[in-house]
């Protein structure tokens, strides 16, 4: 029996107007009904363009030069009516804010149906049906502006689902969501795929969130489809390559296993349990195996003080401690600091912040951060992470309580004057970039903080070298790629070497390679004795970079301490490595620790 393909892409090449380089080059693929396809690849590899080609935005909306064909359910998207394509292919975009047309969830869901002329009775049925199936009914009377990011993305999904498309295309829909909202969103997507047989095409950087859902992974590189196959085949294909979009658990087993590399945490955990059982069978205590590794330590007195409730015998930690002496952050800081410690970099005392609409974003936060610490602030959306760090450079003023920077209460200090000591990079790096060239961008910062003119050239050169953007020194920042812009924005903050660096979601929407580079820069900056504070949803990134983790929820600090203690103690706010080794080797949170633990078990 002949296989029916719902989406057929043949030799598709596409170049955006005004560009010389094609965004897609000779891409061919076909998708069968019910397939869940993950589009992976670095930033600028063509994922978003391919998504837009599937629903006709390329070339209908963008123009440009196109060759080859895209046929969805027999419709050629280059020549078909927008209305016909909209009925067949539904698309959910990256930023929920940019795709909401109306101001209420019900109207938003009905919007596409109205556009395609669906009659009222049918419309009502479909709207109610998708609201119920996506559990949106309780949001019926809310305004779109009152919804969280995750809820907005669900409304966006519902609005395309109501049009009964055969193909659902999603372009990084979870990039702005916290891990729990992202998990919830993707699980619903998978259940739609399973139950309704929808073709799902998902472009995503954070493959660990969805790799296990995919029937097929398509990897794009430079506009070409360089791989297409099952996740297991993808893992095999990735062996020996410098970089491949794989979840941490798969990367962990990639070098050792010859067959059947685990693709999910569940499989990874099973494999580790199997290895642990074998080690015990041959009479070797796994703990002894681990202790033979010179670079890891089991138990140990200093660890006992940090890991609450865990058996010190089964702890595997990196021996390297960057701080000679650390404060036990689990202790209530109110009992620790009353005066100002010369090592104390930032201190908050009973910090409260209430927004104009009455939202209590911070509720009595007591916190001490020492000079040279690398701290990650994690927690769900709306937990108060950003509100907290915006107090460190005076962007927000406490409703109650105090913020002390290097022992000085900053309530009367201006943001501009605090910037010399505390640099902050916000969620959108584009907000940082207003000058015409990269060099003038950096000069503007140095001028603002009053750096002598004689030193500026040297400082700019050093920063450009550090962040590997020297070749772009005379380029307009707006002409650079997403990852390059991120580095220029970071350079504009780092150029005057502020003693405290605060970054708010620096890994949002960037690929793994850019993320690895960023982690390296930040570690180097921290190693120079600077304090780095990172607000992030990316727990893998936080674990790799930071030493200390602060978990926030409902405007309060829920947990604060060594990353091993905080992440290992959390069910959801932890890394894939930790989930895999839980019960076998406690406290494993980073890639290096996981590899060492695995070596020890093997």
């Amino acid at each position: 029996m002949e296989k029916i393909e719902l989406v057929e892409i043949e030799n598709l090449s596409y170049t955006y107007p005004g560009r010389d380089e094609p965004a897609l080059r000779d891409v061919s693929m076909s998708l069968s009904p019910g397939e869940f396809v993950l589009l992976a690849g670095a930033s600028g590899s063509g994922k978003s363009t391919l998504c837009r080609a599937m629903n006709g935005l390329v070339p209908h909306f963008y123009g440009g030069r196109i060759s080859g064909s895209v046929r969805v359910a027999g419709i050629d998207t280059a020549t078909a009516e927008v209305r016909d394509i909209a009925r067949t292919v539904g698309m959910v975009f990256q930023d929920p804010e940019n795709q909401m047309v109306t101001d209420s969830p019900v109207s938003e869901i009905a919007f596409g149906l109205e556009n395609t002329g669906v009659d009222r009775l049918q419309m009502r049925k479909r709207v109610e049906e998708v609201m119920a199936s996506l559990r949106l009914s309780e949001l019926r009377d809310k305004r779109i502006t009152e919804l969280s990011g995750g809820q907005k993305q669900k409304v966006a999904l519902a609005s395309v689902l109501a049009m009964h498309p055969g193909v659902l295309v999603l372009d990084e829909p979870t990039s702005q969501l916290d891990p729990i909202s992202a998990e919830d969103f993707l699980s619903q997507l998978k259940s739609l795929n399973d139950e309704l047989g929808l073709v799902v095409v998902l472009a995503e950087h954070r493959v660990e969130r969805c790799f296990h859902f995919a029937d097929r992974v398509v990897v794009l590189d430079g506009g070409r489809a360089v791989f297409s196959g099952t996740p297991a085949e993808m893992a095999r294909w990735s062996r020996g390559r410098d970089w491949a979009p794989l979840p941490p658990v798969t990367r962990l087993f990639l070098s050792g296993e010859q067959n059947g590399v685990p693709l999910t945490v569940k499989q990874g955990r099973a494999r580790i349990a199997e290895l642990a059982a074998k080690t015990q069978e041959i009479g070797s205590d796994p703990l002894t195996c681990v202790s033979e590794d010179a670079r890891v330590r089991i138990g140990g007195s200093d660890l006992k003080t940090q890991v609450k409730g865990s058996d010190p015998k089964t702890c595997i930690y990196e021996e390297k401690r960057t701080k000679a002496k650390r404060v036990d952050h689990r202790t209530d800081s109110r009992t620790q600091v009353k005066g100002s410690d010369p090592k104390t970099c930032i201190e908050t005392r009973d910090l409260w912040y209430v927004y104009d609409d009455g939202t209590e974003a911070l509720r009595g936060v007591d916190l001490t951060i020492e000079q040279g610490e690398f701290v990650a602030v994690i927690g769900e959306n709306g937990s108060g992470k950003t509100t907290l760090v915006r107090h460190f450079n005076g962007l927000l003023r406490p409703s109650k309580g105090k913020v002390l920077v290097r022992g000085k209460d900053i309530k009367d200090s201006e943001v501009a004057s605090l910037a010399a000591g505390c640099g902050m990079l916000g969620q959108n790096p584009n907000n940082q970039l207003v000058a015409d060239t990269v060099v003038s961008e950096l000069e503007a910062t140095l001028e603002a903080v009053g750096t002598p003119a004689a030193d500026r050239g040297r400082m700019i050169d050093e920063t450009l070298e550090l962040l590997q953007i020297a070749p772009f020194r005379d380029s307009d920042p707006q002409d650079l790629s997403c990852g390059e812009r991120e580095r220029v924005a970071l350079a504009s903050v780092l150029v005057h070497s502020p003693g405290i660096l605060v970054l708010d979601e620096p890994t949002r929407g960037i690929d793994q390679a850019t993320k690895d580079r960023l982690a390296a820069y930040l570690r180097e900056y921290n190693a120079r004795g600077n304090t780095v504070i990172l607000v992030t949803h990316d727990l893998e990134f936080a674990a790799e970079c930071c030493e200390r983790v602060l978990l926030m929820g409902s405007g309060q600090v829920l947990a604060d301490g060594d990353k091993h203690a905080v992440l290992a103690d959390s069910l959801f706010f932890t890394t894939q490595y930790n989930k895999c080794f839980r019960g076998v080797a406690e406290g494993v949170v980073t890639s290096r620790e996981a590899h060492r633990a695995l070596e020890a078990l093997s």
């Binding site: 837009r52 629903n55 935005l57 909306f61 009516e81 927008v82 209305r83 909209a86 292919v89 539904g90 975009f93 930023d95 804010e97 940019n98 795709q99 909401m100 047309v101 109306t102 101001d103 209420s104 019900v106 109207s107 009905a110 919007f111 149906l113 109205e114 556009n115 002329g117 669906v118 009659d119 009222r120 419309m123 009502r124 009377d141 809310k142 305004r143 502006t145 966006a156 395309v160 104009d356 962007l395 943001v415 501009a416 910037a419 902050m424 990079l425 916000g426 969620q427 959108n428 584009n430 907000n431 940082q432 207003v434 000058a435 910062t445 603002a448 707006q478 504009s492 903050v493 005057h496």
Partner: protein
């Protein structure tokens, strides 16, 4: 931050959007056709009562700043440019364009009357913004009107987003040490000019994103159907009647000269027993809406007839 529409359980939001708009328009209309400052005060008071009935009085009141700015400008400009009035209170020097400055008490009073009228219109507009769902107004429109209504609804919806984007941009620059508020006004303006380009670029990116999302859901591809089809109920009839009575009171008051108020050449007002009746008309309507609204909240019978 200007407050915008929020869904509430109140009669004004439960009425057909056309009804609420008619009610608001009736207040706006009578404010425009009468010169009597007492009647303008009555219109503002009636609007305040409607805001109370809709549970948005605090938000409605916060528009006073806009009213104050616009009113103050009228109050200053009118006496400077007007040459009418017989009670001269100040003679000034000759200035280019305006000539000899003569301020009369009547011109000041006229400026104050105009300021009240503008305040009445602005506050009615505020009520519509706060109590009428923009999406339901969009649902009223057909054909070309729907595009304009959609544009207005989108603009309203994007206002908070754009303001947030602008705030984030300013914060990002401040965080780099760039002092945006220091020095003379020219220095402040100069330091903010480069941000305009970035702000425009962000807005453009958002606009493109939105246009993409709309096109991918078939917008502009042909005849549209409508999800919302609101029917008129008993209370819509009551509200329409109230709106009609207010308009009738305004027109009758002006026609009968019972609401007449002359600013020039000297201030004069004709009044009688009927003047009070005409002045009370908007207030009675406002009070009536508060009472009906409270009854509506308590009575299933009324709610089922909305």
């Amino acid at each position: 931050m200007i407050p915008t529409f929020r869904k509430k359980k109140c009669l004004l939001q439960a009425l057909h959007p056309a009804t609420t708009l008619t009610l608001a328009l009736s207040l706006m209309l009578v404010s425009l056709i009468t010169d009597n400052p007492l009647f303008q005060v009555a219109v503002i008071a009636a609007t305040a009562m409607l805001a109370v009935s809709a549970g948005v009085f605090r938000e409605w009141l916060s528009w006073w700043k806009i009213c104050a700015v616009v009113g103050l400008m009228t109050l200053i400009i009118n006496p400077l440019v007007s040459r009418y009035g017989s009670t001269v209170i100040w003679r000034g020097p000759s200035v280019p364009v305006l000539g000899h400055l003569i301020i009369t008490a009547e011109a000041v009073a006229y400026g104050a009357g105009m300021a009240l009228r503008l305040a009445a219109v602005i506050w009615v507009f505020a009520l519509v913004t706060l109590a009428v769902d923009p999406d339901s107004v969009l649902g009223l429109m057909r054909g070309r009107g729907s595009s304009s209504a959609l544009l207005s609804a989108l603009t309203l919806r994007m206002v908070p987003t754009t303001m947030r984007d602008a705030g984030e941009l300013l914060d990002a620059q401040r965080s780099r040490g760039i002092a945006l508020d220091k020095g003379s006004k020219w220095a402040v303006l100069k330091s903010r000019l480069p941000l305009v380009k970035r702000s425009m670029s962000t807005s453009l990116d958002r606009a493109i994103g939105l246009a993409e999302a709309m096109e991918s859901r078939g917008y502009g591809s042909g005849r549209r159907s409508r999800y919302q089809e609101r029917r008129f109920g008993l209370l819509d009839g009551v509200a329409f009647t109230a709106a009609g009575l207010i308009i009738a009171a305004g027109i009758a008051g002006v026609a009968a000269g019972k609401l007449s108020f002359r600013y020039y050449p000297v201030l004069s007002m004709r009044y009688g027993a009927l003047t009070v009746v005409f002045l009370l008309a908007p207030l009675i309507m406002g009070l009536g809406m508060i009472i009906i609204s409270e009854l509506w909240k308590r009575s299933n019978w009324l709610r089922l007839r909305t």
